[in-house]
């Protein structure tokens, strides 16, 4: 389970193989074995012994700011896998295969949007025509995206344009089905101008940290992206990959609003915008964790959504290595490809390689 520290001034220390979280007279003792990650969403203290216990048990500690953006994380100082993956990741940038990857990721995002709107449409016959129009708008962007050829460099503006067009239609459709009180006009960040955007931004913040962790474990360099350009400390690859997983946040957030689970106490006004309160954070994090723990069919087997993110990153890493191996004639390299990963739960699937370390 995920431990979320959400009480201002909490103190986290180690006792045996357990974490002890304390604040005034409240105390929680919980075994490291039961925890997968620790999210610190408020001002808190943590001892170095507790950090050591977390790292020894492959638990990552993530610190979130008031908008939900992870501003720091504690993780072991290792690479996660072989450098060959990173080498290949940089090498393919200028080639058409990089565009093929980016096109696949962005197309997946649009497909997810279309499917979600179709599901929403089913139970809203009164909005049928308007929703259909929005869906068609995204579909035409999707078709155009699939036709793109060339290099990422030459097609960047086209992709971003199509993505933007689809996004406007998508959020237009979502605003349409929102309860009257929570209708919004477009996306806003830093600060969010309305309750919906505040929830969505916080959820995406959690997702960034999950995707970044998955990249590191799979051996991908989070800073070397394709569609998103290089910049100081910009996790471009995380921004690239996250697109296909955004739906896992969109869906629970929209449901919180449409199923009337949102209350006024969930929000606090800030200068020119809205942020989540302590209650709002707790409700949202719980909702998202439950959604990520749901099982879906993924490549012929039932997998928790949370794990599909990791498996997808392993697939990308594998794809990069496989390309490298096909060019070389070294038989030893080929053996690596054929042996499955014995530590990964995915038995005999090509999603895993013997030399990719699976942590967490």
């Amino acid at each position: 389970m995920q431990l979320v520290v959400n009480s201002y001034g909490s103190y986290i220390r180690k006792s045996g193989e357990c974490f002890v979280v304390k604040r005034e007279d409240r105390c929680l003792e919980i075994a490291a074995k039961k925890i997968s990650s620790i999210l610190i969403a408020t001002a808190a203290y943590i001892t170095t012994d507790a950090i050591k216990l977390a790292i020894d048990n492959n638990i990552d500690i993530v610190f979130l700011d008031s908008k939900g953006d992870p501003y720091a994380r504690i993780w072991h100082p290792k690479l996660g896998s072989t450098t060959l993956i990173r080498r290949r990741q940089l090498e393919i940038y200028g080639r058409p295969e990089a565009l093929a990857l980016v096109r696949e990721w962005c197309a997946r995002k649009l497909e997810n949007q279309i499917e979600f709107l179709k599901r929403l449409k089913k139970s809203r016959s009164e909005r049928n025509d308007e929703l259909t129009r929005y869906i068609e708008e995204i579909s035409s962007s999707l078709e155009e995206m699939r036709r793109l050829r060339g290099t990422v460099e030459s097609r960047r503006q086209d992709i971003l344009g199509l993505e933007g067009r689809a996004s406007r239609a998508y959020f237009g459709a979502i605003s349409l089905i929102m309860p009257e009180k929570y209708k919004f006009t477009g996306r806003s960040r830093d600060p969010a101008r309305d309750e919906f955007n505040a929830m969505l931004n916080y959820g995406y913040g959690m997702l960034y940290s999950i995707v970044e962790k998955a990249c590191i474990i799979a051996g991908l360099d989070p800073y070397a992206g394709f569609l998103h350009t290089d910049s100081y400390n910009k996790r471009s690859l995380v921004f690239d990959i996250i697109e296909m997983f955004r739906i896992h946040i969109d869906e629970p957030v929209v449901h919180m609003f449409t199923r009337r689970m949102v209350r006024d106490e969930f929000f606090e006004p800030v200068k020119q915008g809205v942020v989540l309160s302590r209650e709002g954070r707790a409700a949202l994090i719980d909702m998202i964790n439950k959604a990520l723990d749901e099982t879906v069919e993924y490549r012929g087997r039932n997998v928790k959504i949370r794990n599909t993110i990791q498996m997808e990153c392993h697939r990308i890493a594998n794809h990069l290595i496989r390309g490298a191996v096909e060019e070389s004639t070294d038989a030893d390299d080929l053996n690596v490809i054929e042996s499955g990963c014995d530590t990964c739960p995915v038995e005999g699937d090509d999603a895993c390689l013997g030399d990719i370390r699976y942590i967490g």
Binding site: M1, Q2, L3, V4, V5, N6, S7, S10, G16, E17, C18, V21, R23, R26, L28, E29, I30, A31, K33, K34, A282, I285, D286, N289, K290, D293
Partner: protein
């Protein structure tokens, strides 16, 4: 994974607290003063039993017994009960 109960009767205070510590380290939850409950895999429950065995005296007793999920669902809680979801590992997010 399976649900495991650990129940003990130990006379020495130090030995008793050592056994309690072992249970906590394995991620079991204290449901009564001398009763722990939680979900463990086969391996964990075996090594937990071995660790307990190495600290107790001949006159003490520790029971480690597994319980099937159907039986767990049939438990009746009277008075101060425990958090069913937490001990059975169903809790996805724990807030503090």
């Amino acid at each position: 994974m399976m649900l495991v109960w650990v129940i003990y009767d130990i006379s020495d205070d130090r030995t008793r607290s050592r056994v309690a510590k072992i249970c906590k380290n394995y991620g079991l939850y204290r449901v009564q003063k001398s009763a722990f409950l939680g979900d463990l895999n086969r391996n964990e429950s075996d090594s937990l039993a071995l660790e307990c065995e190495s600290v107790i005296e001949d006159t003490d007793s520790v029971y480690v017994f597994p319980m099937c999920e159907d039986c767990f669902d049939k438990i009746k809680l009277i008075g101060t009960g425990f958090d069913r979801e937490l001990v059975s590992g169903m809790t996805v997010t724990k807030f503090f």
